[in-house]
Amino acid sequence: MYTGPLRALIDELGRLPGIGPKSAQRIAFHVLKIPGEDAGRLAAAILAVKERTTLCSRCFNVAEAGELCDVCSDERRDPTVLCVVEDPRDIVAVERTQQFRGRYHVLQGALNPLEGVGPDQLRVRELLERVGAEGAKEVILCTNPNLEGEATAMYLARMLGPLEVTVTRIASGLPVGGDLEYADELTLGRALEGRRQVTA
């Protein structure tokens, strides 16, 4: 129906998660209407996030290129407690609870053979290295309370078992089958508080 740049923009927007053809069309027409400088800022932000954002070399959270992430570069954070999450967005959820003052480790996913994700596709080896190198005393397994998250937590508990570290799992009470990202801070805060030691 549309041609040229407008068509291209609708197509690109339509590829984004959660954006169907109708939304893509609506956003494209919105962009067409806004002042050039607003559109410029949007385009620049998209480019900048790709150019200047990478993963933290220590914990694999998002970070500015060449730097540690905000959490890792904060001297006041307790290096003896590591909170293991699947995704950088989960860090945001845990931070909202204001219950956790340690550092994170982002696995970049969960075990999911259906999608071809095994231990080698996750940052598991790096986690095991960090536990020794940073003198961690406790590892909190804060993967999602769904099947894949539980399997991942169980796998990590086994791998961490031989190391001299206490392994804990966030308490249940989170909606079963849910995602951390959508848990409210009160519920997630309680789950962190009520974490229990895991014996593999």
Binding site: N112, P113, L114
Partner: protein
Amino acid sequence: MFVEAALEPASAGTTVIEGPNGAGKTTVLEAVAFLGTQRSFRTTDREAIVRAGATSAVIRAELARDGTPVLVEAELPTSGRVRSQVNRQPVRDRRDLSRAVPVTVFSPDDLAVVRGAPGNRRDLLDDTLRILDVRAGLALDQLDRVLRQRAALLRQAGGRLAPEVATTLDVWDERLATVGATVAEARTELVTALAPFVVTGYSSLAQEGVAAGSSLTSTPAGPGGPAGSGVVLTYRSSWTGDLASALASRRDEDVRRGVTTTGPHRDDLEVRLAGRDTRTQASQGEQRSLALALRLAVHRLVTERLGAPPLLLLDDVFSELDPGRSRALVAALPQGQALLTTAGPVPAGVAFAARVDVRTIGRRAAP
């Protein structure tokens, strides 16, 4: 058939949907049942559900539950994930749908529950558990997922049990053992709860059948009493002891064959009649009465537990029954909202609240 059709059934009692064969009566019931089960009772072929030439079908129902309106919607593409919504909120899990739209379906295909592969009988149990038992419903959804994850892992292993495969398999097996045990336990309890309903249902249906002089072969009266008694339901696990050990002892074979050879997905509900296995050693009349008795038992148990009958969908069931068994079935059904299709006259004894000709419900006819 239809591009679009709308039906407003009587809010209580039975709405009869009439029309010649091929006019779309079953499609209407299939659509309603799909809302609650995300499955067709007629076919597993999605292409066959969606109108030829279309890429998806949309089903929408407005229900009233305890006086509160509930909007349930499903969109089924010819391929890919079915999307369901309750009150415009996406519903991911089938157990939540089953509770939002509890349905009981009687269809001519029900014979497969008695005669067909074990999967038919597991579906009967699992559909019921999804309505009645939140915990079992969750376990069923997780069982389905963990089996698919394990299958993927076994495929990737390529027949060899490397150490890293073994470690990951341990983790999935522990999940499978946990949810699998929950499922098997819930199914066993359900079978125990269903058994008395099946026994009474069968004896009234079978006796009516005999009295009406149907082709029903009369069962030799054993020590259990007259024909019709002696129905015994047994849940048969595909393993003995605990599931974790069974999985461990089957591991080498599972890896070699690339499939999970034991677990609740291999279990069966055994239905015996006077000591005979009804899958293979019962007459067609006995099998038909048993199939009805099983459905009826589920409907009555769910009605008792929920305090209200599920929406009842009767697809052309009476055409297969002699008048005696039709009467017995009608008498045994709890009162509630029902949709009944028939190509012939309304069966004797059925009191109906409304009649609709299926040829009048289309909003736009397909070209």
